[in-house]
């Protein structure tokens, strides 16, 4: 397996004064399901379009499977794209759409027929050959777009928010299907999305982008458990930020003073220096508990709860700790369902899963 199947070397793309992609370098492995995740305007789509050849970089170069594609036009690249709006040609039917990209590959009629039949079976669209785009549902169009790209057997499949236009239920189904499909055919997928749940559930690795830069590149569970900066911690899932300052190091741990809560010893994965006042502790909702009785967790604080709002998996509490108002989000399973409002109770925090992060 080629670790550096796609190499993105110092790529920048400027539109006027806007740095859509700002000096980005990383590699994508062969056969990987790789996601570019970030809020709108973070540069993820631009980066995908640079890979497809619809934009050319201001600086840097791109390699796929060892050959430099930086200056190649889209039709000469070993990539194919599934567009956000699918871009099914409206004047030709499904079969002709799928055959569209085969014309220049020099295949015999039999080979073309086999490829079309195979790909139709793959995306479960047998029997839809004669349909036109206007006669298909959103999910079917998505399959046509997928088939049309895959039939060319590209080295890399680029997907630009392909599930964005589908409703929630269909989206969940398609997530699973896409993932299964990718494992089956083994083609490298580069998937762009703003939906963190989508990226996390489907990908082998995720690059979180913001302001044209990669904020963190790692496996999905690492993004959640070990965010490398405040942006990632905030963007992926829910979290509680507690202001803190570091004191002395103690092996892999470091002593911190968490504002209003006191001194504690936490893991220091990011090797944050001693005596830094610009740090925060990120505490995930499942590392917090609210209870009527004192617990034996690492931190247990008496608090008054002013208001609660139930969010499903999570519950948000508006609390008063030592006279200071705070908002905390706690996993709903970590408290019994009786009303805590206007009562005194205990907030417990487990230090094990705290992430210590540095402000920029």
């Amino acid at each position: 397996m080629n670790e550096n199947f796609i190499q993105i070397n110092g790529i920048s793309k400027h539109f006027g004064n806007v740095k859509a992609v700002d000096d980005v370098s990383f590699s994508i492995k062969e056969g990987e399901f790789f996601s570019l995740l970030g809020p709108s305007g973070c540069g993820k789509t631009t980066l995908l379009r640079l890979l497809a050849g619809f934009e050319y970089p201001t600086n840097g170069n791109l390699l796929i499977d060892g050959s430099d594609i930086t200056a190649l036009p889209p039709d000469k690249r070993p990539t194919n794209m599934v567009f956000q709006n699918y871009a099914i040609f409206p004047h030709i039917n499904v079969e002709q759409n799928i055959k569209f990209g085969l014309r220049k590959l020099g295949l015999t009629d039999d080979e073309i027929k086999k490829r079309v039949d195979d790909v139709l079976a793959l995306v479960k669209l047998e029997g839809y050959e004669e349909r036109f785009s206007g006669q298909l549902s959103g999910g079917q169009r998505q399959r046509v777009a997928l088939a049309r790209a895959l039939v060319r057997q590209p080295k890399v499949l680029l997907l630009d928010e392909p599930l964005g236009a589908l409703d929630k239920k269909l989206r969940d189904e398609m997530q699973l299907e896409l993932r299964t499909l990718q494992k089956e055919i083994g083609i490298t997928f580069v998937f762009v999305t703003h939906d963190q749940q989508e990226a996390i559930s489907m990908s082998d690795r995720v690059a979180v982008m913001s302001e044209g830069k990669i904020q963190q590149l790692s496996a999905p569970n690492e993004l959640y458990k070990n965010p490398e900066n405040i942006f990632v911690s905030d963007f992926i899932g829910e979290t509680n930020f507690l202001k803190a300052s570091t004191k002395s190091k103690d092996g892999e741990h470091i002593n911190v003073a968490i504002e209003d809560l006191g001194d504690f010893k936490v893991k220091n994965n990011l090797n944050i220096p001693e005596n830094s006042s610009d740090v925060v502790c990120s505490v995930r909702p499942e590392s917090m508990m609210i209870s009527r009785d004192k617990s034996d967790w690492d931190i247990c604080l008496e608090a008054k709860i002013n208001q609660t709002s139930y969010l499903g998996e999570m519950t948000r509490f508006y609390v008063e700790v030592s006279g200071i108002n705070k908002v905390i989000t706690v996993s709903s399973q970590h408290f019994d369902n009786q009303s805590f409002e206007n009562n005194t109770c205990f907030i417990s925090i487990s230090l094990e899963d705290i992430s210590l992060l540095q402000k920029k």
Binding site: D75, F89, P90, F100, G101, R103, G134
Partner: protein
């Protein structure tokens, strides 16, 4: 039907009467067996139509108009297609200025356009004839063709062109396999309307045609002789029918395929 609707109906009838009754006189008198346009009608005849077959100058003028019309419509539609694509697809410096410049012949009085071309042409020492008429018609038809094509291209999803490039077609292949078929109804509509505008055009032809009369010039010349009036009426009637047919065809074509796209959007929503 309530009172409000009936007054609207009366208004509508008056309006259409005002528009079309004068035009209807032409075919009526073209079948009238007399040299004068006056009531009462003198009897039915198709002589005036038969007379058209024998007029060599009429055939020459018709052929001249067709030649001018074909060249003017093809050239102006080609220019308009490139311009329309540029205006819709790209944002560039001087966009509004160049848009205004192309639309200008549409707005300035035709006679000024005609006189300007005449002055330049004579100063260049070139002979009047169908060439300067064609040039004038190209200038005059381009804005019409461009408006039609812009309307067509504005609804076009440009990611279709990107998809084609992505699927291995170069720029020409993409134009031929994706853009052209989708623009085609608009292109044909632009061709037909440009042709009709050129075919019916009088002022530019009057100043620039010299001795090579186009069909409207031929009609103008014949009108001076009372005896020749009836076959001009017959010719006029034929032109009205032909023009109406072409214009209806153009409007129908302009909307072809748009219906399906609307359906597309409905499903997406």
């Amino acid at each position: 039907m309530n009172e409000k609707n009936s007054s609207l109906l009366v208004y509508t009838l008056i309006y259409f009467g005002f528009l079309y009754i004068p035009v209807l006189f032409l075919p009526i008198f073209s079948f009238n067996d007399a040299n004068y346009m006056s009531f009462p009608l003198a009897g039915f005849t198709t002589d005036h139509y038969e007379e058209m077959w024998s007029k060599r100058n009429l055939h020459k003028a018709l052929w001249a108009s067709v030649k001018v019309g074909v060249v003017a419509s093809v050239v102006s539609t080609a220019i308009a297609l490139l311009a329309a694509k540029a205006f819709v697809r790209y944002k560039f410096r001087g966009q509004n200025v160049s848009y205004g410049a192309i639309m200008m012949p549409f707005l300035i009085p035709e006679i000024i356009l005609a006189v300007s071309i005449l002055i330049i042409w004579i100063n260049l020492g070139l002979p009047l004839g169908l060439v300067p008429v064609t040039i004038g018609h190209i200038l005059f038809c381009t804005p019409f063709a461009m408006l039609i094509l812009i309307a067509r291209i504005e609804g076009f999803d440009f990611s279709l062109e990107e998809a084609s490039r992505d699927l291995g077609e170069n720029a020409w292949g993409t134009f031929y396999r994706v853009s052209l078929p989708l623009y085609l109804p608009g292109i044909i509509a632009a061709l037909l309307l440009s042709f009709i505008i050129s075919f019916d055009e009088f002022i530019l032809a009057f100043f620039l045609s010299g001795s090579d009369a186009t069909l409207p010039m031929y009609m103008w010349n014949q009108m001076r002789f009372v005896k020749k009036l009836p076959h001009v009426l017959a010719l006029g009637a034929v032109i009205i029918v032909f023009t109406t047919f072409i214009v209806l065809l153009a409007f129908w074509l302009r909307n072809v395929g748009q219906g399906k796209e609307k359906q597309d959007i409905a499903i997406k929503l």
